[in-house]
């Protein structure tokens, strides 16, 4: 909202000054709108050409084979579920570095409940409540106690991780079936069993979440308020928006989605690994920045973040087939740096250090 106004004002200024500048400005806007799709296309093309000598296009084992695409989408479920809410949070000028830990914690708790004979529905609901609670804590620390988001969520990152590690019994690396307790086979139902087009329920839930969040961002008051709070918090507060409540609500939303993603991860791997969510916060930040959301808030799009998330999944799973796994860190770091530079080039508004 705020940014559109700014942009319009800028455009008017340039119109009166010089027509040429206005044209480059327009072109910039076109680039800004569509570059992310071009990047995704480019990455897909590169990876499909890389393995061309071994197999035919769309054939077995090829990057674009149906099996490989469903596999990619299936492993993308957690980040697709999570990054939409993360985008909204970042639009409002906040950040949550604890999403990875919250996800692991929820995965551990969910699989522990399933292992101990809870029915799926109850375990599901209780885990989601735990997720909401995690988000509530983050929101409380940031909004009520007024501690900088980065520090506050860095602390909860360690807290959630610590709790997850403490829940897992000594001497075992993850919650899984033991000699006397067997993990029910139906734990896989949610995120592994093929429902439609070879994809599991979790994927369709993620799609539903994305659609809802896109609508939330574009059509509802919450989306507008997030932009207003992120653009200029004081102005938003002065115009009657309860900035604290908006941001708190978004933290809770992120916590909820982290729980949903954690359930999907636990159900997919049929174990509750306390380290399974590690690095999720970085993946999310990369996706959000690639999607053109301003780091300081005030501008962004959920839909484009999804494209950004797909780009990361393409890079990680695509690279796995081409180069050894120990290159992953370098690859992800490079993508992050590229995302930062692209973001910087396309968003001209200054960002505070």
């Amino acid at each position: 909202m705020v940014n559109t106004d700014e942009r319009n004002a800028e455009g008017v200024k340039m119109n009166t000054k010089n027509l040429k500048i206005d044209k480059t400005h327009k072109w910039n806007r076109v680039v800004k709108k569509y570059y992310i799709y071009a990047v995704l296309l480019l990455i897909v093309i590169v990876f499909s050409v890389m393995k061309l000598d071994e197999v035919t296009f769309f054939g077995r084992g090829h990057f674009l084979s149906p099996a490989s695409i469903t596999n990619l989408l299936r492993s993308a479920v957690p980040i697709l579920t999570l990054s939409g809410a993360f985008t909204l949070l970042m639009i409002s000028g906040n950040i949550d570095l604890s999403v990875g830990s919250a996800m692991s914690l929820n995965a551990v708790v969910y699989s522990l409940m399933i292992l101990n004979g809870f029915s799926m529905g109850i375990a599901f609901i209780l885990t989601l409540i735990l997720g909401i609670f995690c988000g509530f804590i983050n929101g409380y620390i940031v909004q009520k106690l007024r501690i900088t988001p980065v520090i506050a969520t860095l602390v909860t990152l360690n807290l959630f991780k610590g709790v997850a590690l403490l829940i897992v019994p000594n001497g075992v690396s993850a919650i899984k079936g033991t000699a006397d307790k067997v993990m029910p086979i139906w734990i896989n139902d949610y995120a592994r069993k093929k429902v439609l087009l070879g994809l599991p329920t979790a994927f369709y839930v993620a799609i539903l979440v994305i659609v809802l969040l896109i609508i939330t961002q574009r059509k509802t008051i919450l989306g507008k308020y997030a932009v207003a709070v992120g653009g200029n918090r004081t102005a938003a507060e002065l115009s009657g928006i309860n900035a604290r409540q908006v941001a708190w609500l978004l933290y809770i939303l992120v916590g909820f989605m982290a729980a949903l993603a954690g359930i999907a991860r636990a159900s997919y791997m049929s174990t509750g690994n306390p380290l399974s969510g590690d690095g999720m916060e970085l993946d999310n930040i990369i996706a959000v920045l690639l999607g053109g959301t301003a780091f300081a808030g005030g501008e962004g799009s959920v839909a484009k973040t999804m494209v950004g998330a797909l780009i990361i999944m393409c890079v990680t799973t695509g690279l796995m087939t081409v180069i050894p796994p120990y290159w992953q860190s370098v690859a992800k770091g490079t993508v992050l740096v590229i995302a930062v530079v692209l973001n910087k080039m396309l968003i001209k508004t200054g960002v505070e250090a």
Binding site: I147, N158, L159, G162, L336, V351
Partner: protein, 340 residues
């Protein structure tokens, strides 16, 4: 005029926020130490306390660079990655160049001094990348340094093929990290830490450079307008932080005589934690290196008390998180109280 004199009087009678917070944290340290002595048997033995300080040399070295950066309002999360990378590279550079079957045993065969120099240069390069993106392009430091953390660790993983390098090293490699002062158990690393600490305190308390650091943190724009070259200053600080991390990496690699790519995981958080525990403000403006040492001691007391109570290492994350949280909260509360 009445209010003015009252304000002046108040400023005279009360100490600065900085020393208030320092005193506050020292009292927290004393209280924690008392509790630990009461709960854990034999905690008060001098040997224990000496160990406490000596086991935390690496975090204190890192803390110096991170404190200076935090005072200016910037984060450096890449230190852990830089430690891993420098350690691995120093091993790789000094491994003998004789071709063997095992690719992890073949290095560049450089003399140890050259290897260390090159590894430190690589650490400086990471610092330069940080500085470029943060200072020139004005990207938030947390994002950039998280990225370079991954990059640096990734370089370490690529060089060690995801494992570790520990064979065909010259004997001199393991000397500096394991040597101790004759007749005492104090390691050379601890001496280096103390030396760096003294230099840092002198720079912070007595030089123009130190004052400028605070000024930038308090108000960057005002600092720029009053003629401080902010960009150059911040670049220097990022380079220093990376260099300190590099030195730590080399010492640690030498101690273990191995280059391990997942060494120093989470050290960036520890370094940040001790700065915050020592009273450095999250938003920049004030803080001190000596405060960071106090913070390191607080963390040391907490973790070694946990070890003494035979808690599983899983408790560490939880304890660190809780202690940091309480420290930040206490700071906030105390400062609010003083203002109100």
């Amino acid at each position: 005029m009445g209010t003015k004199t009252r304000l002046l009087k108040r400023a005279d009678s009360s100490m600065s926020n900085e020393s208030f917070i320092s005193l506050f944290m020292i009292s927290v340290l004393v209280i924690l130490f008392g509790i630990a002595c009461a709960i854990v048997p034999n905690f008060y033995l001098p040997m224990n306390m000496l160990n406490l300080i000596m086991n935390y040399w690496y975090i204190i070295i890192l803390g110096i660079g991170v404190t200076f950066l935090l005072v200016t309002g910037n984060f450096d999360m890449s230190v852990g990655g830089v430690i891993a990378m420098t350690g691995v590279l120093s091993v790789y550079f000094s491994q003998s160049a004789v071709v063997l079957k095992n690719p992890l045993a073949v290095g560049l065969g450089l003399p140890y001094g050259v290897a260390v120099g090159l590894a430190l240069l690589c650490a400086l390069a990471v610092g330069a990348v940080n500085a470029f993106f943060i200072v020139k392009l004005k990207v938030p430091s947390i994002i950039v340094t998280l990225g370079t953390m991954m990059l640096a660790r990734g370089v370490g993983q690529v060089v060690t093929l995801g494992a570790q390098r520990n064979t065909s090293l010259p004997d001199i490699f393991g000397v500096i990290g394991n040597a101790s002062i004759p007749g005492t158990p104090i390691k050379v690393s601890v001496l280096i830490m103390v030396g760096l600490l003294i230099i840092a305190v002198v720079i912070e308390k007595t030089t123009i450079f130190g004052r400028r650091t605070y000024l930038i943190g308090a108000n960057r724009e005002a600092a720029r307008l009053s003629g401080i070259r902010v960009e150059r200053h911040l670049t220097t600080l990022f380079l220093t932080s990376a260099l300190l991390a590099g030195i730590t990496g080399i010492l640690m690699a030498s101690e273990f005589k191995a280059g391990i790519s997942n060494r120093a995981t989470g050290f960036e958080f520890d370094a940040l934690v001790i700065c915050l525990l020592g009273g450095t403000n999250i938003n920049g403006g004030f803080g001190s290196v000596l405060g960071t040492v106090v913070g390191a001691l607080v963390l040391g007391v907490v973790t070694s008390a946990a070890t003494g109570m035979v808690l599983s290492p899983d408790w560490q994350f939880f304890l660190k998180g809780t202690v940091t949280f309480l420290a930040i909260l206490a700071q906030r509360y105390a400062l609010d109280r003083r203002k109100g």
